[in-house]
């Protein structure tokens, strides 16, 4: 186990390093034009561009540029020149909102994904299954920003059931935090409920055909217990690992569309707004952090996975 953990962490560090290089290449090295000019933004003076060039080392060889860029990202001294705000501090400030959106959404989609998936599986081929399948397909075909905008208009503006966007910190008013986030959570969850319920449906149907399920039934265990203790338990393992990865990718800015539509000042909206302003430094920083978050969390998921299932660590 220890060997597996060390190897997995080692490879995660390698991939992180590679993502940092790739991000650097995409942002600073490959595109034509002056990277200093790009970082400076639309309303920059030549003197500003000059000082940025020195600060980020764009007058030096490429490897120095890379080191300087990473240094700046990780010591927290990157500044959005368009806004004159420290990027790392803004990201940290915005993180709780993104975390709130992601956690709530993830809980909802896991609950309903499992519920619908199991219902679909035990009713396979029947009316309920067909209805849930159609819903799942609509869910995966529905872009979150469209669903969010429509829901906000009809449920928020017309029916006045939900507040019209914005984010209230949990520490300020837990009730308002919840009511403001409920619609974003549901909107975010719809897509994943569709995906998860379909995955779980097939995997439950898969396990229900296994010998040990037949054995359990032959022992005379109730159908409910067979389903929950024997079939579902095994079907959940791949789902949970997928859940970890989706969670990480949302945390790393994947909530960008939800936050834009519901006007939630999280990391995603920060990126989205920066795209609108063509403000490059925040996008650079969040891209690096996002990739790191995904790589780190996928390593954690793999290690947990291996701890739960010995076949994994023995096979690699």
């Amino acid at each position: 186990m220890a060997r597996f953990v060390i190897r997995r962490i080692g490879s995660a560090i390698l991939v992180m390093f590679a993502t940092s290089v790739l991000t650097f290449l995409i942002f600073q090295a490959i595109p034509s034009g002056d990277p200093a000019f790009r970082l400076a933004g639309k309303y920059s003076t030549p003197a500003q561009v000059d000082s940025i060039r020195k600060e980020w080392g764009f007058d030096k060889p490429v490897y120095v540029q890379y080191v300087k860029t990473m240094e700046k990202i990780f010591d927290g001294s990157v500044i959005s020149y368009t806004q004159q705000l420290n990027v790392d501090q803004t990201v940290i400030h915005d993180l709780p909102a993104t975390l709130s959106v992601t956690i709530g959404g993830a809980v909802i989609w896991l609950l309903f994904g499992v519920l619908f998936g199991v219902l679909s599986a035990i009713r396979a081929g029947r009316y309920l299954d067909r209805a849930l399948t159609v819903l799942a397909f609509i869910g995966v075909s529905m872009p979150a920003f469209f669903l969010g905008a429509i829901a906000l208009y009809y449920l928020g503006y017309k029916a006045k059931l939900f507040p019209l966007g914005d984010y209230v910190p949990l520490t300020r008013d837990p009730g308002a935090w919840f009511s403001h986030l409920l619609l974003p959570w549901i909107t975010l969850a719809v897509l994943y409920i569709g995906i998860y319920s379909r995955i779980l449906r097939s995997s439950v149907l898969d396990t229900l055909g296994e010998d040990y399920v037949r054995t359990a039934r032959a022992k005379g265990i109730s159908e409910r217990r067979v389903l929950v203790r024997h079939a579902l338990r095994n079907s959940m393992i791949p789902l949970i690992s997928l859940w970890g990865l989706d969670f990480a990718s949302l945390l790393g800015g994947g909530t960008i569309l939800i936050e834009e539509v519901f006007n939630i000042n999280g990391v995603g909206k920060y990126v989205g707004d920066s795209i609108g302003r063509l403000d490059v430094p925040p996008i650079l920083v969040v891209t690096v952090f996002a990739a790191f978050a995904v790589v780190a969390l996928s390593a954690v998921v793999d290690i947990l996975y291996a701890a739960l299932d010995p076949r994994i660590r023995l096979s690699s």
């Binding site: 790739l22 075909s141 872009p143 503006y157």
Partner: protein
């Protein structure tokens, strides 16, 4: 589709025509009708796997219906210039802010004095209303659809071709090539799709791209198409690689090698036919994902650039005018959902028909 060698029984198994398992298995989607009457026909020895798949697909009315819906949307979008010139008498870029239009017998400003555009008129001009710049939404919807579909199509082509290439080379050669390709894919895979797409989109749209051998100017449709195509490569290459790994040790590959065939011949003639099913199943899946990602990127302003329309940019512009003009969001959004839904359900039917036992599902 592909040259299948008579006598290589493994090919048959791969495409799932084992009749004992193919009908009514746990994996045949619930949208597919039960195939009770078909089992006798499926046993007919002279039928190739693709013929059998086509037979199965033909019986799946729901999938065919949604496939037809998608084709209808494509045809409508292709007819955009005809609609623009003969019905709406305008262009996707023409500005009619100061014009008036007849709605229910009354004459109304296309864009009111308060800046609100007119809603659907349900006749020739401004059939689906106007946008804030006084442009015909229906015309822009069709032209935007062309852009969205074009980008989705090109992106899918890039993803499938490069994904197949990467997957086959990695799985076939293993060792160093596999290590290199797999690590590279892992790096791309590490980024949240939307963040990576948005970042690259912005960078290229700001400065263009110049690699010496390829030059890309910001603002062209090719930019989002290439970005989307590349972002999704790992999602195709990984399963392909897995499949190749499981096939490469089989007897018919050994036989080909012993005949003295080169690597290229083996990869193209022996390995590729065994992953085509997988690739075909992935095409609709990828097309739907690519169109959705294009919409998302354009919505954020990192995809199709104004004044070029696409469903995503139209929704993006539209949400800014909620609650005043909901039709600007509803119209392109509904079209987008219908299109993607059509592809997804048809694609699921294709998957069911080709590979009823496949583990590939509706994932990103």
């Amino acid at each position: 589709m592909s040259a299948r060698r008579p006598g290589s029984s493994i090919n048959g198994k791969d495409t799932g025509i084992d009749p004992a398992t193919s009908t009514g298995t746990a994996f045949s989607g619930t949208l597919a009708p039960e195939l009770d009457g078909g089992s006798k026909v499926e046993l007919a020895p002279e039928m190739g796997p693709y013929q059998i798949a086509w037979r199965r697909l033909r019986r799946n009315r729901v999938a065919l219906g949604f496939g037809l819906l998608f084709i209808l949307i494509v045809v409508l979008c292709l007819l955009a210039p005809v609609y623009a010139s003969d019905v709406a008498h305008t262009t996707p870029y023409a500005n009619h802010v100061t014009d008036t239009v007849q709605v229910g017998g009354k004459t109304v400003d296309v864009v009111s004095l308060t800046g609100l555009p007119v809603g659907p008129t349900w006749h020739g001009r401004f059939f689906l209303g106007a946008d804030a710049n006084g442009r015909d939404v229906a015309v822009r919807l069709l032209y935007g659809g062309r852009n969205s579909l074009e980008i989705g199509g090109v992106a899918t082509l890039i993803t499938i071709v490069l994904g197949l290439l990467a997957g086959i080379v990695a799985g076939y050669f293993r060792g160093f090539a596999d290590g290199l390709i797999s690590r590279l894919l892992e790096v791309i895979w590490a980024y949240p799709v939307i963040v990576f797409g948005a970042a690259v989109g912005v960078i290229i749209n700001v400065g263009g791209l110049d690699l010496g051998f390829v030059k890309l100017n910001g603002g062209t449709l090719l930019v989002p198409a290439i970005i989307i195509g590349i972002v999704y490569i790992p999602y195709v290459a990984r399963p392909v690689r897995g499949k190749v790994l499981s096939v490469r040790g089989l007897d018919f590959v050994d036989a080909a090698r012993q005949q003295g065939l080169g690597h290229m011949r083996i990869m193209a003639g022996e390995i590729l036919p065994n992953v085509t099913t997988l690739a075909i199943v992935m095409i609709p899946l990828q097309l739907a994902q690519s169109i959705l990602l294009e919409a998302a990127l354009s919505f954020l302003g990192a995809g199709v650039q104004s004044p070029n329309p696409s469903w995503g940019t139209m929704i993006g512009d539209g949400t800014r005018l909620i609650p005043g003009a909901i039709h600007l969001t509803l119209v392109p959004g509904t079209m987008l959902v219908l299109c993607v839904l059509g592809i997804n359900i048809f694609g699921d039917g294709v998957r069911d028909a080709l590979d009823p036992r496949a583990k590939l599902r509706i994932e990103r």
